[in-house]
């Protein structure tokens, strides 16, 4: 066991680690400057050796930043508490996985982590992009180098994880208990992967703007990248909800907190981009709009990082205030100016090749989808910034809370859900009445039946009713597509149904993967709608006493307080309160909620006590029990009981969504010429097919 006496000596021995890390950061800074300059100059002058060099900086940066990151991880693992960062976020008794996760648990480490992921993606983009897009690559390298440069500069000059203390404390501060959760180990990396990977499609967009090669080439090059970053954002957001639900103990998963909103904003614009790109690919429309969307997504991702780090908007999530915010602000302003100039000068090259022909067409439904998504992100941005805006205008801060966001976003969300069903089925260009009837008769009828049935069963919440009805509509539209596709293959090729299904999905991955994603979205909506039926109750119970609650499904739950026990565990002292739970006459078992007081290796308490909710989850509803404390040290306990219908669906919606997205992206690696050609032929066939159907009607 290392102890305090050895700590000073030990830190001297470890000095090389931080020196190496520091050197690596400086080197990364220089290499990133080189990459930015050489990429542009080489590209403009067409000098092969410079282009080569710029592309190589992407790999060099990956190597160098990996070294810097490794140095930080080594310092963490060796408990080198002379390094302030290590002291701040870890302690000797912290379990090793959390010691490693502390790499991105604090501000400076997380910024280094950003740079690391960016370096990985930038190198992957250079490595995986097929040769036919070589004309874009020097600029892509330049853009990724510039963004890397910014993050490395912030780490070096504003928030350095290698900074040392003037003395060596015997033990560290420890990691915040709320971050000691497996979900928290994977949630930030996922969200970062999402944020950071937007940089790649963004870099391609900028490259296309610089080169004025604004055909659909760059769109094909980034197809998978866009979905990759969208999926990571989705996973990151969903894991964030899960973490908030499990760990924060207030019984919900989304509070419209500025930091949550910050992750939601780029997700919305990326979703819009994913859809509008299809219109550009097929009809040559919306070129300007797509450019604006990808640029906005990138800016919002940076803005999100800025919000979490500047403390400009008070949020329960935010990091401590520091000068980091100014760096971000400057970066945001400078890039905004540069991008606006670039867009402005290239606007004439981004003329649409065709026009909207009918309101009843897939283009129109996608356009509305885009408007709604962008409207939603605008309203979320507005609500998030409102305290600042109102202070500027009226001199007093006015805040808007969850009611504002719900009031605005629920109707927009439901309209989007409706379009989720309509969009994929409606014909391109102009849908004929027969096309409409063929595609929408059974979904509409089924949805109406579901809506009526729910009403008869006693469902009276308007928005929830609409959500379920529209959900049924979307599910039937998607089901109909699968049934028809499988049936057609079965008839034409004589394949059995399983094989027909596999080939149908396998040969139209983007289309059917997209449908599966849509099903996932419906599952999410079912879960969100469940929030309308949440029941909550607080009670103070002596051992043996019980309370009953009736859930939205009509179940009668009885909670009987058993007692409070106290014990030591790992790096904490636990008070656990247990409740015997029954549903009707059926005994469900004992649920235990804990209050945990963490301590350091000297048994001194660290941080505030943390609540560990007891959660019993099933497909209908969650039982969520929080032990709020015992009365004057007796065994009488105060509880909050929450019945959360359908929360389970949200997590599984995430699973379905990821499966769908994986299908769209399959196979891994870069797109091959053959797969692209196949896909293009497939679309042409489909297009012809639909035109024929439309003409026939």
């Amino acid at each position: 066991m290392p102890n305090a006496d050895h700590a000073t000596k030990q830190s001297l021995r470890l000095e090389p680690v931080t020196i190496l890390g520091q050197l690596a950061l400086w080197l990364a800074l220089l290499v990133a400057v080189w990459g930015s300059v050489v990429g542009i100059v080489g590209g403009v002058q067409g000098r092969a050796e410079l282009i080569q060099s710029a592309r190589r900086t992407a790999y060099a940066l990956l190597g160098i930043i990996s070294v810097a990151s490794a140095c930080l991880v080594v310092a963490l693992l060796r408990h080198d508490f002379n390094v302030q960062y290590v002291w701040s976020y870890t302690s000797r008794n912290l379990p090793t996985p959390y010691v490693i996760s502390a790499f991105y648990g604090g501000q400076s480490g997380s910024l280094l982590f950003w740079a690391l992921i960016l370096a990985i993606f930038a190198a992957a983009a250079q490595w995986l992009t097929p040769r036919r897009y070589d004309y874009l690559m020097p600029y892509v390298a330049a853009v990724t180098s510039m963004v890397t440069l910014f993050f490395v500069a912030v780490v070096l000059f504003a928030s350095n994880p290698f900074e040392r203390l003037p003395f060596t404390p015997p033990d560290g501060n420890g990691l915040n208990p709320q971050l000691q959760n497996p979900g928290m180990v994977i949630h930030p990396p996922m969200l970062y992967l999402g944020y950071v990977s937007i940089t790649v499609p963004f870099a391609f967009a900028v490259a296309a703007l610089i080169t004025r090669r604004l055909d659909t080439g760059w769109l094909h090059a980034i197809r998978r990248w866009t979905i990759v970053s969208w999926v990571f954002l989705s996973i990151g957001i969903t894991l964030g909800m899960w973490w908030a639900y499990v760990e924060l103990g207030w019984g919900g998963y989304w509070a419209w907190d500025p930091v949550e909103n910050a992750s939601f904003l780029p997700w919305l614009t990326m979703t819009a981009f994913l859809h509008s790109v299809m219109i550009q690919e097929k009809r040559g429309m919306l070129k300007r709009w797509n450019m604006i969307l990808i640029v906005m997504s990138f800016m919002l991702a940076i803005f999100g990082t800025f919000i979490t780090r500047s403390g400009i908007i008070s949020s329960v999530h935010s990091f401590a205030q520091s000068s980091v915010g100014y760096f971000f602000l400057v970066f945001l302003v400078v890039s905004a100016v540069a991008l606006i100039w670039l867009l402005w000068t290239r606007f004439p090259y981004l003329k649409a090749e065709s026009q909207l022909e009918s309101m009843v067409s897939r283009e129109a439904s996608f356009l509305f989808n885009n408007l709604l998504l962008v409207g939603m992100s605008f309203s979320v941005l507005w609500g998030t910034m409102f305290p600042i805006l109102s202070e500027l205008v009226r001199g007093t801060q006015v805040t808007v809370g969850p009611p504002f966001f719900n009031q605005v976003n629920i109707p927009i969300g439901l309209a989007l859900l409706a379009l989720t069903g309509i969009g994929p089925l409606i014909a391109w260009r102009k849908a004929s009445p027969s096309n409409l009837k063929r595609q929408f008769a059974s979904p509409v009828v089924s949805a109406l039946i579901v809506g009526a049935a729910l009403y008869v069963l006693g469902l009276r919440d308007f928005y929830a009713g609409v959500a379920f009805t529209l959900g049924a509509f979307v599910v039937v539209t998607v089901g109909q597509e699968f049934v028809r596709g499988v049936g057609a293959r079965h008839r034409l090729h004589g394949e059995n149904y399983a094989l027909a299904f596999a080939r149908l999905v396998g040969r139209n991955r983007r289309r059917y993967g997209g449908y599966i994603v849509h099903l996932g979205v419906v599952v999410y909506f079912v879960g969100f709608a469940g929030a309308a039926f949440k029941k909550e109750m607080e009670a103070s119970l002596k051992p043996g006493e019980s309370v009953t609650m009736r859930s939205a499904f009509g179940y009668e739950y009885t909670f009987t307080h058993i007692g409070v026990s106290q014990y030591e565990q790992l790096n904490r002292f636990v008070s656990a309160a247990s409740v015997d739970v029954s549903r009707g006459d059926e005994r469900l078992g004992i649920m235990t909620s804990e209050k945990r007081q963490y301590w350091d290796s000297f048994q001194q308490p660290t941080f505030q006590p943390a609540t560990e909710a007891a959660i019993r989850s099933d497909i209908r509803e969650d039982i969520y029990i929080v032990f709020a404390g015992s009365v004057d040290g007796t065994e009488e306990a105060v509880y909050r009981f929450t019945l959360n219908p359908l929360v389970w669906w949200i997590w599984y919606g995430g699973v379905v969504l990821v499966i769908g997205a994986v299908v769209t992206m399959w196979p891994g690696g870069g797109p091959t010429r053959a797969s692209l050609r196949r896909a293009m032929v497939g679309y042409q066939v489909k297009l012809v097919d639909e035109t024929v159907t439309a003409d026939a009607g």
């Binding site: 935010s318 401590a320 709604l372 801060q397 805040t399 009611p403 009031q407 505030q608």
Partner: protein, 134 residues
């Protein structure tokens, strides 16, 4: 009518509805966010300001927290260094609610000068970031 002008009408309709939803949302749910000193100033200028619900951001005075677990009532004092208000809150406090924590209380100022809070949010400086000591 051409499709693009029909679309423009649709777009205007969507924009107007989103704008309407936002404006009404802010009107219905917007709440003043003040510090204790600002609240005192506003109430002094216009006594009817008491009846307007506000959110107040301040710091908990160390040692002022009293919990009555049986009635689930918490009384404590908040301050911004210039003005201090006693706060009464009924309900469960978040884990991060401790001495010296930054809190946001939502509610209204009573005639006796206490602040009756209906919600209590707490943010701890060391939530993600250690206090810059040492």
């Amino acid at each position: 009518m051409r499709a693009s002008s029909k679309f423009a009408m649709g777009a205007v309709l969507i924009t107007v509805s989103v704008g309407y939803l936002m404006a009404s949302g802010i009107k219905d749910t917007g709440v003043y966010f003040v510090t204790p000193a600002e609240l005192a100033e506003k109430v002094q200028a216009d006594a009817s300001f008491r009846d307007v619900g506000v959110r107040m951001g301040a710091r908990v005075v160390t040692g002022s927290i009293e919990r009555d677990v049986a009635s689930q009532t918490i009384t404590f004092e908040v301050t911004d260094g210039m003005k201090t208000y006693p706060v009464v809150y009924r309900g469960l406090a978040p884990d991060t609610f401790t001495d010296d924590a930054d809190v946001v209380v939502e509610g209204r100022l009573m005639a006796d000068g206490t602040f009756r809070a209906t919600t209590l949010l707490a943010k701890c400086g060391s939530r993600y970031e250690a206090e810059p000591t040492a």
